[in-house]
Every structure is written in structure tokens, then in C-alpha cells.
């Protein structure tokens, strides 16, 4: 097995080079075309096409008796397209929803396909070997000339996408507008469907029927975590698709009995999981970190407010405030409270003497602002939204942490710099 792995990287076997390049191109092509099905929210249609291709391939084989790729692709293209038309027709002419229609068509076509495949296998036609790689994919079994044919198709796909990029983007984002400016929407949709069918026909070499939808959709699902620009997402998806494709070919070499498809999809899924977890901004951990930061900010600001409230009640802003008094205002555990106090001291909001913590000038201004925002918002809620004064506190407690200086200014102006809040507490201005 490991000799195989090494010889893969030696590239001494020219077929290895062909297959590696071929699977990169196949994976990238499928990913780029799949991006548009993804953003048009038609992820499932790829699945229908992939399954619908099987009867076409088998029929072409039965009728011709040979494994002529041109005929097989034509057969696949024919039934693939037929499935799209059938789904559209069912959705239009009946009350059946699109996902149900896709499920229906998918199983009917695939059922017929399996039937035909069984028939071929039992007929014992010698040329049949390799047909079942359509089911699970087997990149390494491709011959140089197959690779050339399929790569050429993939390159044409990508070229067509580039050529019609502007139009494809527009019909994906806003179809009605596209039609309103006189774009031949029907024609472009026909083109995209044809490209999708072709992408499926070629991609099946790498992953097989069952997992083809993943090769179309997953690269984009992963890529969209890293960018907000369609063109960048397309490039990233192509890289992810290409890399996953070639990794499938590699597996085919080191373990010739292993079906390629599941491995390609494994690699794809790793990309997706990695993106979902670790992408900056949109990823899970990045969001978690943001939440953590928000929580700390809220804790900090709550304690600053508590300082202000106590000082206000005692009419004494200079003196240190005891932990007990603070905890009367905010029921944080002593440990958490100490952490927060030290954090605030580090940030310069608090000073410490042997009597305890007290607000620095800087901290006093910040605390006063928070109290002001809280009370302004309470006033806004009661005056403009007519909410009862005893219901506004909780709302204000969250809002005060989010209000930006611009909003603060507008709030002040709108309310006319009021003296007191709905509970008759003084609003502090600086």
C-alpha cells in the first residue's frame, strides 16, 4: 500500500499525472457550477440529476454494447435533463412541492437505473466492467483518454461560467430584475441546467452517483464562510473541490479496492467542518469569542453602574465601595466580582486603596454615561412606545450596552435632554 502511495508522488507513471490533473479539474469544475445551484437554493436538484444519470448511462450501454464515452455521456445528459424537466413539470402542474417532486423523480430514475444495471451485470457482457464505478466513483480507473475527455468538458464548464458570470450572478440574486432589463433569463437558466448536468456527468467519475450532490454543494457551503464576495467564493470553492478530487484519486492508488467517492466526500466534509468551526467572523469559535467578549463587557459595565448607583444614593463619589454593597446591586459570586474589579482596575476605570475599590475620574464618566443611557432609553420606551414604566427596566438593561455615541446623541436630542427618567431618578449629563 505504501509503495503505491510513494509511486503516486513519484509521478513516474504518466497515468498518475493524468488522473491527478483530471480529478483536480473535475472537482473544481463541479464546485464552480455547484456554487450557482447552491445560491439559487436548488441544492437538491444536483442530487436528482446525479441519480437520473444512471438509467441514461445503462441504456446507452445496452443499446450500443460498448463503453463508448461519447455515447455514455449522451445517454447521461439525456436522462439528466429529462429529470429536470420532469421536476419542473410536476411542480408547475400539481400542488406537489419541489423537494417532494425531486424525491419522487430521483427514486424513480434511480430505480430504473439499478434495474438496468442489474440486467447488464447478469447478461455477462465483458465490456461492462467499470460501469459500476459510476455508482461509487473510481478516479484511478480512468484511462488517459477518459481523463482528457472529462477534463475538457470541465474546462468548458468553467469557461462558460466565466463568460456568463455577470448574467448568472444577476439571475441568481434577482431574477425578476434580470428579466425586467430584457436578459434572456429562460435561456440562461437552460444553460445553467445544462452545465449542471455536464458537471454531474463528469464529477461522477470521481465520486459516483450517490455522493455527487456533495461535490456540487459542499465546496461552496465551506467557502462561503470565508468571504462575502461571490467571485472569491467561486475561487475558494474551486480550490476545495479540486483538492478533494485529487485526494480521492490518491486514495484510489494506495488502496485500489477502496471506492473513491466516500473518501472525496470525507475530505470535503473536513473542509466544511473546519470552515464552520474556525472561519473568522462567521465561524463558530469566532462567534463564541465575540459572545464571551460581550458577556465580559456587560459584566464590567454593570459593575461600573453599580458604583455609580451606590455613590448616587450616598451622595459620595470619591469613597471606596464595599464588596457587599456592590453585591446588593449585582448578585455576582465573590470570585467573579473580584475578577471583574481587577479587570476594571487594569482598564483604568477603578482605583484601589486599602479601603477597597473606587471609581477613577475616567471610570466615573463612563459609569455616568451608562446610567444616563439606561434612563434615557427607559424614557424613550415610555414616551414613544407607550410602555408602562414598570416594564422598561429589563429592556433598558440590555440596550444600554449597545447604544453607539451617534444613537446617544439622537436619543438626547429627540427627548430634549430630560432631567429625570420615568422613575424620577436624575439623569446624569457631563
Amino acid at each position: 500500500m505504501w509503495e503505491n502511495a510513494l509511486s503516486f508522488f513519484d509521478f513516474d507513471d504518466t497515468n498518475v499525472i493524468y488522473v491527478s490533473l483530471g480529478t483536480i479539474i473535475l472537482g473544481a469544475g463541479a464546485a464552480v457550477v455547484g456554487s450557482f445551484t447552491f445560491f439559487r437554493k436548488k441544492a437538491l436538484i444536483g442530487d436528482a440529476i446525479a441519480h437520473a444519470i444512471l438509467p441514461g448511462v445503462c441504456l446507452a450501454f445496452i443499446l450500443s454494447g460498448t463503453k463508448n464515452y461519447f455515447l455514455l455521456i449522451s445517454g447521461a445528459f439525456f436522462t439528466g435533463w429529462l429529470s429536470i424537466i420532469a421536476v419542473d413539470y410536476i411542480v408547475k402542474k400539481s400542488k406537489i412541492k419541489e423537494d417532494t417532486a425531486i424525491g419522487l423523480i430521483l427514486s424513480v430514475f434511480f430505480g430504473v437505473g439499478i434495474m438496468l444495471l442489474t440486467y447488464i451485470q447478469q447478461s455477462g457482457n465483458a465490456a461492462q466492467t467499470g460501469l459500476d464505478s459510476f455508482l461509487f466513483g473510481k478516479a484511478a480507473s480512468m484511462l488517459a483518454q477518459d481523463v482528457i475527455v472529462f477534463s475538457a468538458i470541465s474546462i468548458i464548464l468553467v469557461f462558460m461560467i466565466l463568460l456568463f458570470y455577470k448574467e448568472l450572478k444577476l439571475i441568481t440574486y434577482d431574477k425578476d430584475f434580470a428579466q425586467s432589463i430584457g436578459l434572456p433569463v429562460k435561456w440562461i437558466e437552460f444553460l445553467l441546467s445544462s452545465l449542471t448536468v455536464l458537471a454531474v456527468v463528469t464529477g461522477i467519475q470521481a465520486v459516483g452517483v450517490v455522493l455527487m450532490a456533495a461535490l456540487l454543494i459542499t465546496p461552496t457551503a465551506a467557502a462561503k464562510y470565508w468571504s462575502g464576495s461571490l467571485s472569491v467564493i467561486l475561487i475558494l470553492a474551486a480550490i476545495i473541490g479540486g483538492f478533494s478530487g485529487v485526494s480521492g484519486a490518491f486514495i484510489s492508488y494506495i488502496a485500489p479496492n477502496m471506492p473513491t467517492g466516500p473518501w472525496v466526500v470525507m475530505v470535503l466534509s473536513l473542509f466544511a467542518i473546519f470552515s464552520i468551526l474556525f472561519a473568522p467572523k462567521k465561524g463558530y469559535f469566532s462567534r463564541l469569542l465575540q459572545q464571551l467578549k460581550n458577556r465580559k463587557q456587560i459584566q464590567d459595565e454593570n459593575i461600573l453602574k453599580a458604583f455609580h448607583q451606590i455613590a448616587e444614593a450616598e451622595d459620595n463619589f470619591g469613597e471606596a465601595k464595599s464588596l457587599e454593597k456592590l453585591r446588593e446591586k449585582r448578585y455576582y459570586t465573590t470570585r467573579l466580582m473580584k475578577r471583574i474589579l481587577l479587570r476594571l482596575k487594569r482598564q483604568g476605570y477603578l482605583r484601589r486603596t486599602k479601603e477597597g475599590f473606587f471609581l477613577s475620574d475616567y471610570g466615573q464618566r463612563k459609569a455616568a454615561r451608562l446610567v444616563k443611557l439606561h434612563r434615557l432609553w427607559e424614557l424613550y420606551l415610555t414616551e414613544y412606545l407607550r410602555i408602562a414604566p414598570d416594564h422598561v427596566h429589563e429592556d433598558a438593561d440590555t440596550i444600554e450596552h449597545i447604544i453607539t455615541p451617534e444613537l446617544e446623541k439622537r436619543l438626547e436630542e429627540k427627548l430634549g435632554y430630560p432631567e429625570v427618567d420615568p422613575h424620577n431618578s436624575k439623569i446624569p449629563y457631563d
Binding site: 448574467e167 444577476l170 434580470a178 428579466q179 425586467s180 462561503k224 462575502g228 467564493i233
Partner: protein, 261 residues
């Protein structure tokens, strides 16, 4: 009260539209004057959006035809701009404010051509007019409702059309945006552009429009604001008189009658 005009910029003749056999517009017949700010008013589900889509050729017609400046739509498309309802698109689509507004230039550009410098200037100009130039690189998913509507408006401006159809440009926008938009629409009609706006806040109708179309599955009125904006006509548009029409619509759909012989 249906007032027909001489030399209309838009003429709709005996228009009927149905969705899967359920008729939603019956025999709409009207003509509109050039250079005015025109409101289409009617309750929810009255067929206001359907009327705009039918005019833009986005729906198959059951009967009737539409002429723009005396010519069929296809010859006039480059002079017409359509602003769909804001909710009709996916605002999570990965693209920027600038790119969306650039889509307004696609009609002029034609297939295969890339935007040129002049297009970029028009786009920036349009963004400035709606006060969104600072947001040009912003992801559209990060915009507020009012900003989304401004972007749609900028895209329409970038089309440099003579006739504008806008579906609910004031829906869900803040007061500042509404003010800015109506000011802009006023300026456009002052430049002899025809602006047709679906609107459903009755309070502001009289203040905003020169001409109104009252619609509820059928045309109730079309005329200058002081003639068509009357309590009786509003009662006819919003009142319960149309239940019969609704029932017949449902019957036609259920029994699969042809809408036309």
C-alpha cells in the same frame, strides 16, 4: 372614475392576469400621463405587484396588451426601470452594495461586456444621490431595511430610464429614508420622468402623488389625485364590495374553468 389621457406614456388595454387559473386582475384598462408621480393604491392581495409584473412582462397575460409610449414593451425596455419588492431577493447573497447598483448597468452593457469607467461613475453618482456612497463596499447582508431600499433605488437610478416602476419602496423603511426617497422621486418627476409607485399608506397618498390608481382585483379608479382620491372611491377599493369577485375567482380555480373562451 377612470380618466383616459391623450398621448399616454403607458397604455394598458383590457389586461387580465391569473396565477394557475386563479384570476387576480380583471380587465384593467387605463392610460397614464407622462412626467407624473403616480401611486398604485389598494389593500393587501389587491394585485398591485401583479400589475407591475404584468407590465414588465414577467407574467403571462390572460388577455390584453400594454404599450409604452405607443410601442410594445420589448422596444422600450431600455427606457424602463423596475424595482421589485425588497423582500423578493435574498439579502444574504454574497455581494456588495456597489455590485448590486452596478447591476443597473447590465441592461445597457448587454451580454459579455464588462462595466467600463463611465458605468462606474454612474454607479457612484447614483449611490451619492441616495446617500449610500459611504457604504459602497458594505456586504448587502449588513444593511438595514432602509439602506436596502436605498440600494435598490440607486440601482434603478443607475439604469437612467425615463419610466420607473417601484414596488413598495416605502415598506419597512425609517422616516428619514422615506423622506429622502420621496424627495428624490419628486425631483425625478420634475425632470419629466414618469414614476409609478405601489404604496399602501393612505395617510401620505395625497401629499405624495399627482395621480393615483385605485386597484382591488379590478381597476376602481385612475385619475388626478384631486378627482380620484375620494372617500367613495376608497370605500369601493377597501370596502367589502368585492367578495363576489373573490368567490368567483376561487370557483374558477377549483373547477378549472378556462378564464377565457
Amino acid at each position: 372614475m377612470i380618466k383616459q389621457v391623450e398621448n399616454p406614456i403607458i397604455e394598458i388595454h383590457d389586461l387580465s392576469v391569473a396565477y394557475e387559473r386563479k384570476p387576480v386582475l380583471w380587465d384593467v384598462d387605463l392610460s397614464l400621463p407622462e412626467g407624473q408621480l403616480i401611486g398604485i393604491i389598494g389593500p393587501n392581495g389587491a394585485g398591485k405587484s401583479t400589475l407591475l409584473k404584468a407590465i414588465m412582462g414577467l407574467l403571462p397575460l390572460n388577455s390584453g396588451y400594454i404599450q409604452i409610449n405607443g410601442k410594445p414593451l420589448e422596444e422600450m425596455r431600455h427606457k424602463i426601470s423596475y424595482v421589485p419588492q425588497r423582500e423578493s431577493v435574498d439579502w444574504d447573497f454574497p455581494t456588495s452594495v456597489y455590485e448590486v447598483v452596478m447591476m443597473g448597468r447590465y441592461g445597457q452593457l448587454g451580454l459579455f461586456n464588462r462595466p467600463k469607467k463611465a458605468d462606474a461613475e454612474i454607479v457612484m453618482d447614483s449611490l451619492r444621490k441616495v446617500g449610500m456612497d459611504e457604504f459602497k463596499n458594505r456586504q448587502i447582508s449588513q444593511l438595514s431595511g432602509g439602506q436596502q431600499q436605498r440600494v435598490f433605488l440607486a440601482r434603478a437610478l443607475a439604469q437612467q430610464a425615463d419610466i420607473y416602476f417601484m414596488d413598495e419602496p416605502f415598506a419597512g423603511v425609517d422616516a428619514a429614508t422615506e423622506k429622502a426617497i420621496i424627495k428624490l422621486l419628486g425631483e425625478m418627476s420634475a425632470q419629466n420622468k414618469t414614476v409609478i409607485v405601489v404604496h399602501h399608506d393612505l395617510q401620505s397618498v395625497a401629499k405624495y402623488f399627482d395621480w393615483i390608481i385605485l386597484l382591488n382585483m379590478r381597476l376602481v379608479a385612475s385619475g388626478p389625485i384631486n378627482e380620484a382620491f375620494t372617500p367613495e372611491l376608497l370605500q369601493e377599493t377597501y370596502g367589502g364590495k368585492l367578495t363576489l369577485l373573490t368567490e368567483i375567482s376561487d370557483l374558477i380555480q377549483k373547477h378549472r374553468f378556462p378564464n377565457r373562451e
